[in-house]
Amino acid sequence: MTRLRNIAIALAAPLLAIVFSLAVTSLVIQISGGSASDFISILFSWPADRLLVNIANQTSLIYLSALAAAVGFRMNLFNIGVEGQYRMAAYAGALFAGAAFLPGALNVIGALLVAVAVGAAWAGIAGLLRVTRGVSEVISTIMLNAIAITITGYLINTYGIKAGDSRRTEAIPESSQVPGWQPFDKAAGEVWTLGLLAVIAGVSFWLVLNKTRFGFDLRATGQSESAAIASGVNSKKMTMVTLLISGGIAGLIWMPSLFGSAHYYGTTFQAGLGFTGIAVALLGRNRALPIAFAALLFAYLNEQSNRLTIEAGISVEVIQITQGIIVLAVVIAYELVRRYRLRAEEREVAQAPRPGATTEEVSA
């Protein structure tokens, strides 16, 4: 019974946060002269086929990004640098795949490994600074974000192929492009095969964190570093390895899109996923399955936003308001739930009959 109630409470928190956020956004829209009923009805109408495909694709990218952030968060390591890590990795992966050193599928695997290695290395810089010099990873990863965008920009401007007034890397040869699954007609597009990377990463995340010694050490360090050290955990090594894993996952973020549709790094590169991931990880409380739902929610909101402007003249920015408020509200909701549970537990303990207690004491 208590278990069931706990699950219900856990679900209630994010749902309340969403409802609250939609209410606030509706209010904002109504005040600024738009129609809140249009907003709600468009948001909740079933998406068109191609939007369903896009939602599936975007969910996989956002999920990978959120996982990358969550690994660190579970250990109280704030890797804010997922953005820079996946940008560097996306560029390196696209460069490697475009150069076509290897044939066909080998090229894909090679590029994925390069991307993971580059993402991990970029996060590793922050890890080294933290371990050897005690530099806060929050500061260093934010700085590394700025450096990443400058380096990739310089490289693409210097060595990229000219396309109009922009630049891009060499396109991936056709034999190494990964065709997707086409659930509807051609115009609706394909679900990227490499989106499965998100599923694999999610399952591995859960297994490693919950079923291995390493995962236990990681969670223990996150909950109390001093206690973990006292029990023999090498915290420096843990910090380094966790950041490398976080960066490695970050390296995969854009890969489904690269091999599924973009085929080169250029104007179609999707920036900003690293930041979305932080919010989604928080919303999903850094747990593998809840993050998946959070990623789906964010992808859904993003994809429905086009229709808001076209059909109802509501600015697309309101979706960012909605997402921001969901994140804030969910933190408050989780805290309320935590207190409620604590009180409920206290009450239960208080009511539980003490051995040898008289009936009067219990009823009091």
């Binding site: 929050v138 400058t150 930041f275 960012q320």
Partner: protein, 359 residues
Amino acid sequence: MGKITALAAVAVLALAGCGSDDDSDGGDDNNAGSGGNALDCSAADGDGPKVGIAYDVGGQGDKSFNDAAAVGVKKAVDDLGATCTEAEATDGEAESAREDRLRQLADGGHNPILAVGFLYSEAVNKVAPDYPDISFDVVDGFDPDDEANDNVAYLGFAEEQGSFLVGVAAATKSEAGNVGFVGGVNSDLIKKFEAGFTAGAKAVNPDIEIQVKYLQESDPKGFNDPAAGKATATGMYDQGADIVYHASGGSGAGVFQAAVEAGDGKWAIGVDSDQWQTASETEQAHILTSMLKRVDVAAFDAISAVDKGEPLVSYQVYDLKVDGVGYSTSGGFVDDITGDIDGYADQIKSGEITVPTAP
């Protein structure tokens, strides 16, 4: 719990942070007086072309080239009885979101569909073949593959020619023999501005010193960072420049401030629109001229072509010959040298002078 709260703050800041990450194509700012008579699509009910506009990030009201396109559509609403529907990009959106936006406009029966900014190039290339009866126009766009689309027009501008003319103005007016160029992002597009400006200044004074600085290597934030614009321009004035030309979108506001603080005899040159019109009174005294990039002309052109039944296709270049670029005379600071500038303009039009597009 404190850590989680801190994290939430970071997350919200991050979401807000990407909000300022302006993805605009660059160098485009306040276009010709779009303040008072903004485009209102809900009020347009003529029987002319049904125009779909896909804005870049910022949409209408960005005081940038989105507004410039809106001015062109407004003209079509007034003159051709056009109706319109607007759609707008968000920061860090997926490529598929851009495609979807175009498809929704196409499914809604709009023709032509104006895509504002070169970021739409790839999306248009994918979507256009599915709608052969609809004309697509991409401002600053390009065809990403070898297969030509016969229902897509790429509206390009000869920014280097307009920049050449303000370079002439700068070199003629400079007493120090030292001028500056501030670019928003070090991209090929903005290098066209630099190349034209440098060529124009050297045409007048081969010995002139030209300081060149870009605010960002590739981060689009370079178009939306007035503080960096100000710091960079101040550095140039300190190094002896007396005129600074900026092609840095919203960062230009900082360049104007730097000119004001540098004092009398220090000038700035605006870009894309007549920035004297939208500047404050103290700034107006320091804005020598502006390079004009007439996105509104191109947008109206594309719509009226569809109205006439002969939609534009392929690459369309808006240069000096068709008044697609030019310079402004507001403030009257270059009135005494318009003869010289127009002389160079004539030489460019006749082909006597070929302006380089890369520095």
